[in-house]
């Protein structure tokens, strides 16, 4: 346990301490918690994610998984605890600032810009890397043209990772369900995150789509060398892709470990299958 950033007084609780111990983690949550509607939706949540780790966040319905994402992205302000992103405390930041600091996410209930075309959804997410002002846009000055062309090329390149470049001009709202989920991932990637949060990316997909998605997530991970946290109910996907897994139940972490350890953990089995009746 020698992974200690100079900012954090507590030992790193990385799911995979050995692999990522040598490098500063991308994310560290310490005692994170929030009370929603009188209940502790998330409580005493401690998690460290290595710079290039793919971690799974699993748990039964209503366990608080999405709430963790909402805390990390400041959709909710935490009632307790600290979130360090690349060693920086995100206290006082809002959703926009957290994204600029490096967290991008997808949503469990798809939130695309329905009336924008597929490519414009991606380019909207590249807004912060463009610099021309509104006068350049109105007068169509050379820097407008230059930056738009570059953005368009990069957007198409990102879309091609998910085989979506041929749908570029279709309105996002009219895409089939699976494609909408993939577009959300592309849009998140377009913001150049160091940590990507995927909230049930395979929900509603058929098995072959899920298999493709798994390949694509691996590809993204390889290409961009970023950390990914994945919420997913599809256990084969989670067990196949994740290096470390964190299990949540009633807002509390009940287990952390490698896929093998999690699969054989009695507390996890109990949480999923329910407590065995005492005879």
């Amino acid at each position: 346990m020698k992974a200690k950033t100079k900012y954090v007084p507590v030992p790193s609780k990385a799911i995979l301490p050995d692999r990522d111990a040598a490098r500063d983690p991308v994310l560290e949550c310490v005692n994170l918690g929030i009370t929603l509607g009188g209940i502790k939706a998330v409580d005493n949540f401690n998690l460290t994610i290595g710079r290039t780790e793919i971690a799974g966040l699993i748990g039964p319905n209503g366990a608080g998984k999405t709430t963790v994402f909402n805390l990390l992205t400041k959709v909710y302000q935490p009632t307790t605890g600290t979130i360090l992103l690349n060693g920086r405390d995100t206290h006082g930041m809002n959703t926009m600032q957290v994204n600029r600091a490096g967290i991008a996410r997808t949503f469990q209930n798809i939130r695309l810009f329905r009336n924008l075309s597929v490519v414009d959804n991606v380019k909207a997410a590249m807004n912060n890397e463009m610099h021309y002002n509104m006068f350049s846009a109105i007068l169509r000055l050379p820097n407008y043209r230059r930056e738009e062309v570059a953005a368009h090329r990069r957007a198409l390149k990102l879309l091609s990772i998910f085989d979506m470049q041929n749908m570029a001009d279709v309105p996002a709202g009219s895409l089939p369900y699976g494609a909408q989920r993939r577009l959300e991932i592309v849009r998140a990637l377009a913001t150049n995150p160091s940590l990507l949060l995927l909230d049930e990316p395979a929900a509603g997909m058929n098995p072959s789509e899920t298999a493709d998605l798994m390949d694509n997530i691996r590809k993204v991970h390889e290409m961009f060398q970023i950390a990914i946290i994945l919420i997913e109910h599809d256990m084969s996907l989670v067990m196949n892709i994740c290096e470390g897994i964190c299990v949540l139940n009633f807002g509390q972490i009940i287990a952390k470990g490698t896929p093998d350890e999690i699969q054989n953990n009695p507390a996890v089995i109990e949480a999923y299958l329910g407590r065995r009746k005492e005879v």
């Binding site: 600029r100 991008a104 949503f107 380019k123 909207a124 997410a125 169509r140 009219s174 998140a188």
Partner: protein, 352 residues
Amino acid sequence: MTMRRLINLKRVEARRIYLTYAVVIAAYVICQVMSSTKFLSSSMRGMLVPICAYMVMSVSLNLVVGISGELSLGHAGFMSVGAFSGVASAILMQGVITNAPVRLALAMIVAAVFAAFAGFVIGIPVLRLKGDYLAIVTLAFGEIIKSLLNNFYFGMDSQGLHFSMLTDTTRLLKGGRLIIRGPMGISGIQKIATFPAGFILLMIALMVVFNLVNSRSGRAFMAIRDDRIAAESIGLDITKYKMMAFVTSAALAGAAGALFAMNYSTIVANKFDFNTSILILVFVVLGGQGNMLGGIIAAAVLTILPEKLRQFSDYRMLLYAIILIVMMLATNNDEIKNFLNRINPFRRKEAE
């Protein structure tokens, strides 16, 4: 890649934009020809400038309502800020700049700047609100602007500029001129607004709005409109972009107000009341939110209609209301929409 591809306009969208410019230019040429061949009645000729002004109002409000997705009920307020600041500056410039078109252009720029400033100041509290609340507060600000201007006195004499509120305490020296006279507004305006000027302003408004919409700002406006939480999650500055749309829209409305006012010899603040704001909103809704050409056509039709109904004297407003309701129902009817879609080669096909 063709040029169009480079600036990334989908073909349908690009065609719609070119169609809008083409229709506006064609309409302008036809009206000019008709007017020079005395084919146009004098009452119609007098309406050309107000129609242009209302068209610009429609385009500018469409930026807020159609593109940014915020319901604003006080747009006439920005028009009146533009009208008063534009006319007042034109009067001040009278001695210095003798060329009327240049003076008009400068007055419209001054008007746009003042209205943009008003838009910024009002935007700070208003844009924190959402939905219906925002609509109601813009309504209130529209009324506030009206009553401020109704109580504003502004004059010039050899000592410089003077202004006062509530009562005329400007105490101008002999030879001075009280330009804005509270509820009496401004009178003795030189009518320097012309139809070509209105046409140019409309073309500029269209260029500003179309080019802004097809840029990173426009994508941000529409992204925020479609899903605010997702827009925040990709790092868009909601406040900044809402403000940008609101201020741009106010500036265009200000220029339109100056054009409108300089078509009359007298202008009063009460002309720009809640009814006018609603009328402009009706242009946008009737023309289709986000559809600039539709809004322009609606502005023309609904400005000419009351004139054409004049022969029905007492029943004029009743007929106007009935026609408006029928038009609203018709443009909202799915079957009629489908029919229009079928005969319109520029609409996007559903199946695509």
